[in-house]
């Protein structure tokens, strides 16, 4: 009797795309268990899944936004805590390095690259604090808490106002959600400390002419009105150049006094892609075909923030939020199954046009466009849908 060879599949990255890929691949292979056995390995530099889209939470409170990978996959998945340094696709082998600096190589049959993105940071001389990591989020929380405590003792009204003013620079989804959450929690603390909560000023600096340029103008306006109701003032067409010793300098030459400047400048493809040995676009995204296969690398696929995925029907580049990553991962499971069986693979299809915003605790807004309608959910239901997308992307549903 000839033994049927098992397959080794490695997923690199325990972010939204990575964990959903693991789930989809396991599901696919469960159905094929009698045909081939699967060794599934998940590699990440951390032992946990980091819920990056919730970074604003530790900037205001104690919420833990990490989930141990072993909790997500108690069995059937091997974890390797290491940083991948090279993919040698010719040999179907990857090289990695663990936290102690030990180098290893692992052979694979299939490899899924889902290393995601990193938060864009300002130049160090631009001052302020970028909401780029857990550590940074904690430091932001410490900073505004220290400011507000100082404001209690401060005699000068002008200085007190400065301490109670925060600039959030960058009005993408992250900037919107961060500013709304900051406004809510700082006001709460202000009340506890006996300060006037209406003196808390959150200024959201938007380089564009309106919020949410990806959707209709009216949705942007509605968002702005909701933020205003939360205590956030949006400043359009404003570019912040620098924050230095409590003074914010804008591109139009104006200056403004602030207690804290938080940068939320969006995402960049993971810089490790530059040296990993796979083809990338000039912007730094992995080049893949309509079935997520990496150009010129046998058995290697890439999904999520790190890949440039284009809908072959419309020619549109897929969005880079956790919703798209989840849908891509589910399709990847079917693609792998089809590739193993030698069947035609399902091509990428763009995700439904659908955006969610959290606007402080239990408040949110969801926009989608269907049947010629701009459909908007607001209030608690908007927030519940927002939470649902976060939880399902992190496999908590």
């Amino acid at each position: 009797m000839v033994a049927i060879k098992g397959l080794t599949c490695i997923v690199i990255g325990g972010g939204y795309a990575g964990i959903n890929a693991v789930k989809a691949i396991r599901k696919t292979f469960k159905g094929q268990a009698s045909k081939r056995t699967l060794r599934l390995i998940l590699i990440d530099k951390n032992p946990y899944h980091f819920r990056k889209v919730l970074l604003f939470k530790p900037a205001v409170g104690d919420e833990d936004i990490t989930i141990p990978l072993t909790r997500l996959f108690p069995e059937g998945v091997e974890f390797v805590q290491a940083t991948v340094t090279k993919i040698e696709s010719g040999e179907r082998r990857l090289l990695c390095q663990d936290a102690e600096g030990n180098k290893n190589s692992i052979k694979y049959d299939f490899l899924v690259l889902a290393v995601g993105s990193v938060v864009r940071q300002p130049d160090p001389d631009q001052g302020g604090m970028a909401l780029a990591s857990l550590d940074a989020a904690w430091k932001i929380r410490e900073a505004w808490r220290a400011n507000i405590k100082e404001a209690v003792k401060e005699k000068s009204a002008k200085e007190r106002q400065r301490l109670m003013t925060i600039a959030v620079v960058g009005a993408g989804i992250s900037g919107i959600e961060t500013s709304a959450e900051l406004a809510y929690f700082i006001r709460e603390d202000a009340v506890l400390l006996g300060l006037d909560p209406s003196a808390v000023r959150i200024k959201l600096f938007n380089a564009n002419k309106r919020l949410f340029p990806a959707g209709p103008a009216k949705v942007g306006l509605k968002l702005e009105r909701s933020l205003d109701a939360c205590g956030v003032t949006t400043l359009h067409g404003s570019r912040v150049l620098q924050e230095k010793e409590g003074a914010l300098t804008l591109s139009n030459g104006e200056t403004m006094s602030v207690g804290l400047c938080v940068w939320t400048l969006g995402l960049l493809p993971n810089p490790m892609l530059q040296s990993i040995g796979l083809p990338i676009t000039p912007e730094g995204y992995v080049i893949v075909d309509a079935s997520y296969r990496v150009q010129g690398a046998q058995g290697v696929y890439s999904i999520g923030d790190c890949a440039r995925i284009v809908d072959p029907a419309s020619g549109r580049v897929d969005g880079k939020t956790c919703k798209e990553a989840t849908a891509q991962a589910a399709r990847l499971g079917k693609i792998l199954s089809a590739d193993i069986a030698g069947h035609p693979t399902p091509p990428h299809k763009e995700f439904i046009y659908f955006f969610c915003f959290a606007l402080g605790p239990e408040q949110g807004m969801v926009w989608t466009h269907q049947w010629g309608l701009d459909i908007i959910f607001t209030g608690k239901l908007g927030w519940r849908i927002r939470k649902f997308t976060w939880d399902s992307a992190s496999l908590l549903k």
Binding site: D374, F377, G379, L381
Partner: protein, 254 residues
């Protein structure tokens, strides 16, 4: 009413329960009276064109700003919960279990709500939800056929089971009942065109972007007299909506 209740409180064994019950009943009364107003509406009821709801509450699934009129007409038939469940299922493709969690109802209840919503909207279980607005070219062709009095052409542009709904609200002349069938609708439309010379100062018809689609605004010396919108299905007009109630057109004059 609340005062009466408070006066009685001293004599009550369970004042809290009494107050709760009283407020609940009061809310029910209010709700019922609003419904009654709608039921007592004269003739057919249609939503206002260019409706821009600003209600931000949770219960109100905001319908959007750039509304397809045909879809709005259909959605207006639904209760707020039915609308929320319908949109979550049909627009966002959520699973019933997830919808149940989001709206705080049981899965079975959500399935029933969807089925009821589809029924109210006249969409069969297997039929996709897809009301299509008439394009500018369509509207132009229909206008040309009407102006030329080309009966055959008008008839050929209408679906076999076309329905024309006209809302005068008891304040403007309008067909009280929906006009159904291709021949009757064609005759009605051609009749309207023939009547235009009777308007003082004549009638001016212009194409405008209404609710995110091409609609017709009919003006006479008195101002806007009708807003007409239509939806097309399989290359012919399935529904025609005539809003003639002056209360619903006033905001368009601004």
């Amino acid at each position: 009413m609340e005062k009466d209740g408070i006066l009685k409180l001293e004599r009550l064994v369970e004042p809290k329960a009494y107050l709760c019950k009283m407020v609940t009943n009061r809310c029910r009364d209010l709700f019922n009276s609003a419904r009654k107003r709608r039921e007592q509406y004269f003739g057919q009821w249609l939503p206002e064109p260019l409706l821009t709801p600003n209600d931000e509450s949770f219960e109100s699934v905001v319908q959007g700003e750039l509304l397809s009129y045909a879809m709005l007409v259909l959605l207006e038939r639904l209760s707020l919960t039915e609308r929320a469940v319908f949109v979550l299922r049909e627009a966002l493709g959520f699973e019933y279990a997830d919808i149940a969690e989001l709206v705080g109802k049981s899965e079975a209840n959500c399935r029933k709500l969807i089925s009821r919503a589809r029924g109210k909207m006249g969409i069969t279980p297997d039929e996709p939800v897809n009301p299509e607005a008439a394009s500018e070219e369509w509207v132009r062709r229909l206008l040309a056929a009407l102006e030329q009095g080309n009966v055959d052409m008008v008839v050929s542009m209408l679906a076999k089971d076309v329905v024309l709904v006209s809302d005068g609200g008891g304040k403007a002349f309008a067909a009280v009942h929906p006009i159904e069938s291709r021949d009757l609708v064609a005759r009605f439309l051609l009749g309207l065109i023939r009547k235009t010379p009777h308007y003082e100062g004549g009638v001016h018809v212009e194409m405008r972007d209404i609710n995110g689609q091409t609609g017709l605004v009919v003006r006479s010396g008195e101002g806007i007299v009708t807003v007409a919108l239509m939806h097309v299905e399989r290359n012919s007009i399935r529904n025609l909506y005539f809003v003639r109630n002056p209360d619903k057109l006033r905001h368009l004059l601004k």
